[in-house]
Every structure is written in C-alpha cells, then in structure tokens.
C-alpha cells in the first residue's frame, strides 16, 4: 500500500494518531498510549482498480473484466483498507477491574482500490 504524502490525490493510507493523554483517557486506558486510527483516502480511477495493496494478477483480472464489459457500466472503484491488525488494550472497566483485550481490525496497515 502507499502512505499519503503531500497532496497526493490517489488512493493511499493517511496516518492519524490519537494520543490518549491528549483526549483525557490516560486514566482508564493503562496501555497503549494511543491509537493509530489510520484511514484510506484518495481516488480510484478505473485504471487503478485493484491496486495497490492487492496482487498484481488481481489488478489485471479486474482490468480485463472492465474491458470485457462496457466500461461505463463498471461501478466505481473505492479506496479501502487491504491490511488491518488488532488494537490491544489494557484498561480499567467500571468496577476498576483491569481488562486486557484485542479489538480486531482496528488499525489500518495498507489501503488499495477495490
């Protein structure tokens, strides 16, 4: 996948870090110190459908499908997460118990065009 830089308009991953101390959550979330809430943004013109972040063969397959069918009829291609990982949290619950859990698919590692 590609990380967004400067004013890139094509599909890429934007990094965004939420510091728990800055939002006043450091008293109940023991670890980690923040959450990388990255997200996908950018355009996916048809010739980019299926890249980056996915196998090139998939991209070729998609392009062939578009050529085979009427290109105008093809739906838009969207910029979506292609790789994600869990957010592991150690936090206090309402009874001051300490809970450790992994919230699946919370951190976006790569983006790509559908």
């Amino acid at each position: 996948g590609i990380d967004c830089s400067g004013d890139s308009r094509m599909c890429c991953r934007k990094e965004f870090f939420v510091d728990f101390k800055e939002i006043g959550w450091e008293d109940w979330i023991i670890q980690p110190e923040g959450y990388h809430m990255n997200y996908c943004a950018g355009l996916c013109p048809l010739h980019m459908a299926g890249i980056p972040g996915l196998a090139a063969s998939f991209h070729t397959a998609v392009l062939n499908l578009i050529k085979a069918n009427n290109a105008e009829a093809a739906v838009d291609s969207c910029c979506v997460p292609t790789q994600r990982r869990p957010l592991s949290l150690l936090y206090y619950d309402r009874d001051s118990n300490i809970v450790k859990t992994d919230i699946p698919d919370m951190i976006v590692d790569a983006c790509g065009c559908t």
Partner: protein
Amino acid sequence: AAPKGVWCPTCGLAALAPTTQRDVLIALAKQSILSKLHLEDRPNITHPTSRGALLTALRRMRAQRTDTSLSLGIPGDDGHVPRLRPGMGAQEYEILSFAESGSSTSRSVRLHFHFTRELAGSTEILQATLYLFWTVPGPGTYPVTIRLLQPDPTGLNVTGGSETRLEVQRDGWATLDVGRAVQSLFIQGGQRLTVELEVAEDWGSRLLAIHNDSHWPFVAAQARARTPHRVQRR
C-alpha cells in the same frame, strides 16, 4: 457526513478545515473504541489499582501460565501491549479483579471480587484462578478453609458454594481454580464473588492479613465474547 456529491466518506473529510477534521477523527476514534468494548461511555475510575499490585499480578499470571496461547503480557517499555492469541475468532478478554475487603474476625476474612455487567452478560469464562499470598506466623502447618460464596437470588446475602481445605506451610503465593464459581456467577447475572478464608486458631489475623499492595489477592479470569448462535451466512 461528507458534503453532497462527494461519493466517499473520507473524501468529504478532506474538504473540512484541518481542526474540524481532527475533531471528527477523534470523535470517531472514541466512538469506535467504546462500542467495541461494549461501553456506553468511558469509565470513571474511582479507585485505581496501585501499579505495584498490577505489575505483581501480571507477573504472577505470566509465571503461572504454562500455555503461552493467552499471555497477559506486562506492557512493554515501548508501550506495546502484547496480543492475546493472534488470529482468534471471538474477542477474548483477560480480566483482573482485585479483592475488596469484606467482614473479618480473628479467624476468618471475607474478600469480594466484582465483575462488570457488560462482561458478565456477554462473555463465557474459559478459566479463572484465585491468587492468595500467605504469611505464616512460624514453622508448622496451618489448615485453611476457603469457601466460595455466591449471592442469593435476592442478591443481598451470600449462600454457601464450594469449600476447599489447604495446608499452608510457608510464605508465598497459592492459587485456586475458581472457574466454575465465576462461570455460574456470570450465568446467574451476578457480579460479585465472595471468598471466605477461615483458619483453625486465632493466629489467623497474621496468616490472612493483606500486608501490602504487592500481595493483594486477585482473581484472573480468561473470557470469550459469546458468539451469537445464529451466524448470518452471506
């Protein structure tokens, strides 16, 4: 919400002023974390656990754990919290409940362990262990009776549950499997497990005393979110 005519939500974000963008993203992050933890709002911590008790508990659990599948790691210096079991389906939890002192006499002491409604209602217990630290008054063997008491249907009193007898001979940590008791507590929708420790003589006050933070009794439970019975097929 993305301005009209913009077809992807994050493109709408780009149209906002940077400070507004930041506020929107932080609000989204809060909402996303709270909803995934089944919390309506962030908890207000009335009495946080001391760092000494927390670190001791995490170390005890790690020392105790034979299978590395579920490891409640001590958060690393880099702030990284080691993951539970990678690639698991249903969300899993490790819960540490530290004792709240209840009534006591020279020969017995009661300890209360609370579990929140969110977790009690939506999770099944995979394993639960009670950790106790003994300080023996001197050489010899000290018989101790441990009773696990459940709240009665009114929730006001506690009724007798299981009973275990131990022979304590030296200082140190002892563990007791309380998985069945915590599971039945969750099934009944209860939230408080009471543990009663009783000793034969009146030297109990020393044996049962909780001397400092690092030896505070606790229950460590491993739970898994209940998966809905009917799984939608796409």
